[in-house]
């Protein structure tokens, strides 16, 4: 019996995932993090990207839009600003939002808006990339 680690993914809108895993791969602020059981305690921010939870032969794909990751030796907690299952991503909506953000960046209305648009763009690009990777692996369509 191999070791497993508890994983909990929550966002302000609710609990997204709760279960055990053999390995978790998270989009940390300083790069991708692969987390195995008995990892040293770690605290980091997350950037928008894909969160993979491997359990046996199965892999759960989630999309997290920033947040905080806490690692304890036997439990991983993801406090996402928002999160969704990768298969729930609405491609059309993401594309539209990405284009809207690009337009706003091109117009450069004011500084505050520019920063918000940039964050939005980053989020949508990450979302679309997650979707693309799922396709390449033949998990989606």
């Amino acid at each position: 019996m191999g070791m497993t680690i508890d994983v909990r993914v929550v966002s302000a809108e609710g609990s997204i995932y709760e279960g055990t895993a053999d390995m978790v791969i998270a989009p940390g602020q300083m790069g991708e993090l692969g987390i195995l059981p008995r990892h040293a305690p770690l605290l980091t921010g997350l950037r928008p990207g894909e969160l993979r939870i491997k359990h046996g032969a199965e892999t759960e794909y989630l999309f997290v839009n920033g947040g905080i990751l806490e690692i304890q030796p036997d439990v991983v907690t993801v406090l996402a600003d928002s999160a969704e299952r990768a298969t729930d991503i609405d491609e059309a909506k993401a594309k539209a939002a990405k284009e809207a953000a690009e337009v706003r960046i091109a117009n450069q209305a004011d500084e505050l808006d520019y920063a918000a648009a940039q964050a939005e763009l980053l989020e949508q690009v990450a979302r679309l990339r997650t979707l693309q990777r799922l396709r390449e692996q033949g998990i989606l369509r």
Partner: protein, 288 residues
């Protein structure tokens, strides 16, 4: 018949009022269900971030964050959560009572007070009493997003960071059940150390921070404060709807009782008028 007519008009007016209170009761009941669901949905995040913070408090970080450090209190900040609309029983009054009492207590100790308010009722009340509001937020609607609340939260956390206030308290209503809500006072900043000891590796340990302790803890604590306040606002909305439902149910029941009493009075008045008429006619006939 003049008296009976008067009573009849009164019955009509009470019945009309009852229609309104009944409608409000039903609207509040359906909104309450959704508000409770929303409250339940935001709970896991609040619970988990509390847990993480409990771990952080047990770590031995090389960097002491100001949000965790107790300091002497010269000025205290309050964030008051109230509802936008009235007709919800004693809900807002209870919350306001705590504010007034706290302000009075602290000011008599020579501690200055700074207040921010969410919700029309609190804002209006504090304004009328000449309090200085450092931030206010009204018209949050039934489905508040965290983004709506960021303004007042920022004002208060910045004030704490800059040393304008030395503690931040949250005053809001706790949802106990549909019939019962309780106004509460909760310390938000500095973050209280949780009592229970949970998990945790070894004796002396610290996190690996990526990239560094300061920005990560900053991020975490800011999120924590946001989560606590967001949770309070969502919970207050659930309180508001259930308080309103109960208040309106009482009003409807009262109206029903009142209509019954008035109906009885009306029947008596009608009968008295008829009896009097017959007496007059027979008296007239006897005279002829």
């Amino acid at each position: 018949m003049a008296k009976a007519k008067e009573i009849n008009a009164q019955i009509k007016s009470v019945k009309n009022t009852r229609k309104i209170t009944k409608a409000m009761e039903m609207v509040a009941a359906s909104k309450m269900r959704r508000a409770q669901e929303r409250m339940a949905a935001s709970r896991p995040y609040a619970d988990k971030i509390r847990e993480v913070l409990a771990h952080v408090a047990q770590a031995h970080p090389e960097y002491q964050h100001p949000f965790l450090a107790e300091r002497p209190r010269k000025r205290v900040g309050f964030l008051l959560v109230s509802s936008d609309r009235g007709l919800c029983g004693a809900l807002n009054v209870n919350v306001l009572r705590i504010v007034v009492q706290q302000m009075h207590d602290l000011q008599s100790q020579g501690i200055e007070v700074q207040v921010a308010a969410v919700g029309n009722k609190g804002v209006g009340f504090l304004r009328r009493h000449g309090a200085q509001l450092s931030a206010e937020l009204t018209g949050i609607g039934d489905r508040p997003g965290l983004a709506d609340m960021v303004g007042p939260i920022r004002v208060m956390t910045d004030a704490y960071r800059n040393g304008e206030i030395d503690a931040l308290y949250l005053i809001s209503s706790r949802f106990i059940n549909t019939m019962l809500q309780r106004a509460t006072l909760e310390q938000v900043l500095p973050v209280k150390k949780p009592e229970e000891k949970t998990v945790v590796a070894g004796e002396r340990w610290d996190y690996i921070y990526e990239p560094e302790a300061r920005p990560v803890l900053d991020h975490l604590l800011q999120r924590y404060v946001e989560s606590v306040i967001y949770q309070a606002v969502v919970e207050h909305l659930a309180c508001e709807q259930s308080a309103r439902m109960v208040a309106m149910k009482n009003a409807s029941d009262n109206a029903k009782r009142l209509v019954g009493e008035l109906q009885l009075a009306y029947n008596k008045a009608r009968q008295a008028a008829i009896t009097q008429e017959i007496a007059e006619i027979s008296a007239g006939a006897a005279a002829v």
